[in-house]
Amino acid sequence: MSWLDTILQGILLGGLYALFAAGLALVFGIMRLVNLAHGDLIVLAAFLILLLVSALGLNPFIAAAVALPVMFALGWALQFLVLNRTLGNDILPPLLVTFGLSVVIQNGLLEGFSADSRRISAGALETASLQIGPISIGTMPLLTFLSAVGVIVALNLVFYRTSLGRAFRATSDDSATAGLMGIRAERIFATATGLAMMVVTIAALYLGTRANFDPTMGPARLIYAFEAVIIGGLGSFWGTLAGGIIIGVAQTVGAAINPEWQILAGHIAFLLVLLVRPRGLFPRAVD
């Protein structure tokens, strides 16, 4: 039974990775921008929630709800004022600017919050679990997974059922023609990054309540998110969930064999998928 339990834990962990990945996939899908600061933005959001919890005594879920519009505004401004300037045919400027941003956020957080590891307390929820037959499922991991599914359903609805989503797709396909139809690409891009930052905030809530975090752990989250996106195939939100689950299961199975192999097993699963299916499992976008 323990193997079944291990795999189930892996699937639930995959929900967290899918949350990390969804924001990255959203931004890449619309403007072909890879944000190397994505992981650090997740950690920044986790510190914002921590600040709201400790300063105002809010429940973490309420604090995350307060953080959502703040992070949206931050993402909107970041895209509108900085990242829009880097978009073009050359891949160097966006990569190097977001890499610089990653270093700035990491060291800013180190200055502001020190290198200590922190945790957002979720009270009794942290240890609560559901007993289904012989298997017990932690409530927090289950909530994380359900949130990931909810986020992906919501993103698909926004993308394919709203006028905003139509504008996203039109700008992504051909921003010049979309411009002729009255769509202002720079505002669409800013809204997309704002939306991605809201997903990041939800990811940060679970990152901070499930385990300890510190200012330097952003890059590793970026790598998990990236692996999930590539495994899933570019442009597919459900694919990122599948990718997250593969990384999550590989990590828990690896850890069950030898605790030191946890992270390594996830990376190796990624390489194997890259070897067999270079374009991922469910590719949708052309590049």
Partner: protein, 361 residues
């Protein structure tokens, strides 16, 4: 008609008026740098060693990103792997550190072959994170190597660097003590590596392959249509950069004499600093990393006491330069003066004689 034009009346040259002068100045500077240990203190020699090794790493990254369009965030894989191979050579095989440095470079080169196989499947921006994943895999794998200290790391056997080839000779010649002689030998090796690296890159860029590289960077399809193989050209550059990066990594850790996976595969030390050096100095030029490493060293001396503020400021400068002066400090300077120390632009000189043109009708 063109048959009548005598081909020999045209010449393609990369020389400019200033380049002969600058070449002499550079030779003089290298000679001065070679003699430096005779008249500067040990701490200055150590600082110069640091500058030269960072310069090698920066030139390699610049070759990848600035010329081949391969933005790698995972060059620490080769620094760390080269360093670990050197440690294995000295600690486990009892090699001389000097030979083990070569082993480190070759090990990095060997690692770059399977690495290239994976990361070249990823396009553009995804290549960047792919290289990072590889570096993480190498770090986590080497942290399992218990003979070299596992996750906590290990030190070189005591006396290993003191017995390195040439150290006793330098100690006797200059009348200095063992550790100082080790520093001086390491410094000369770093100087040699830097000169060879810059010389090789300059030679490469002036060659046919270098022209192909620039063509692939500027327009991949057009370059293919005239027979340049982009994958081969990029792979070649990737392997060469891995070799030089591995040599630099091994050399850095001979001088440090203590290694751990976290330090040897550190993203800030071996990639963030290197990227900022190149971006601040000017990406896509040989001069850029040289200017960048000097600015980097000055900033580090000024801000070293401020801990993470230092990296934060470096990051901000990097972002501002990328946004407002994407060709860096050297680009700003060269635009105003037209000066090039390492000219690689081909200039067509000479003209057909009038009678050749008349001959066409």
């Amino acid at each position: 008609m063109s048959d009548h034009l005598s081909a020999s009346s045209w010449t393609v040259s990369t020389r400019t008026r200033g380049s002969a002068v600058s070449m002499l100045a550079i030779l003089a500077l290298v000679a001065l740098a070679f003699a430096a240990p005779l008249f500067v203190s040990r701490s200055v020699v150590q600082d110069l060693f640091f500058i030269l090794t960072m310069l090698v790493l920066a030139q390699c990254w610049n070759l990848l990103a600035g010329y081949a369009g391969l933005v790698s965030v995972g060059q620490q894989a080769f620094v760390g792997f080269g360093a670990y191979a050197m440690f294995a050579g000295v600690s486990l095989l009892g090699m001389d550190p000097m030979a083990a440095i070569l082993l480190g470079g070759l090990a990095a080169l060997a690692l770059s072959v399977p690495t290239a196989f994976f990361v070249f499947r990823l396009q553009g921006a995804y290549f960047a994170i792919g290289t990072w994943v590889i570096a993480e895999i190498v770090r986590l794998s080497l942290a399992q190597w218990k003979a070299l200290g596992g996750g906590t790391g290990t030190s070189l056997p005591s006396g290993a660097t003191r017995d390195m080839v040439g150290v006793r000779f330098v100690a006797d010649l200059l009348g200095v003590r063992g550790p100082q002689a080790t520093d001086i030998v390491c410094y000369w090796l770093a100087l040699f590596l830097a000169v060879v690296t810059i010389g090789s890159i300059y030679k490469l860029l002036r060659s046919k392959q270098g022209l192909g590289l620039a063509a692939v960077r500027d327009n991949r399809e057009a370059a293919r249509s005239v027979g340049v193989d982009p994958t081969w050209t990029k792979s070649f550059v990737y392997l060469v950069a891995a070799l030089a990066t591995g040599l630099a990594g091994a050399l850095i850790y001979v001088q440090k004499a203590r290694i751990s996976p976290d330090a040897a595969f550190s993203v800030p030390d071996w990639t963030a600093y290197v990227i900022f050096i190149v971006v601040i100095g000017g990406i896509g030029t040989i001069e850029g990393p040289i200017v960048g490493v000097i600015v980097f060293y000055i900033l580090q001396s000024l801000l070293a006491d401020y801990g993470s503020w230092y990296l934060l400021i470096l990051g901000l400068i990097g972002i501002l330069i990328m946004l407002f002066a994407p060709r860096g400090l050297w680009g700003l300077f060269a635009d105003r003066t037209g000066l090039q120390l390492f000219p690689v632009r081909r200039i067509l000189a000479g003209q057909p004689k009038p009678k050749d043109i008349r001959g066409s009708d």
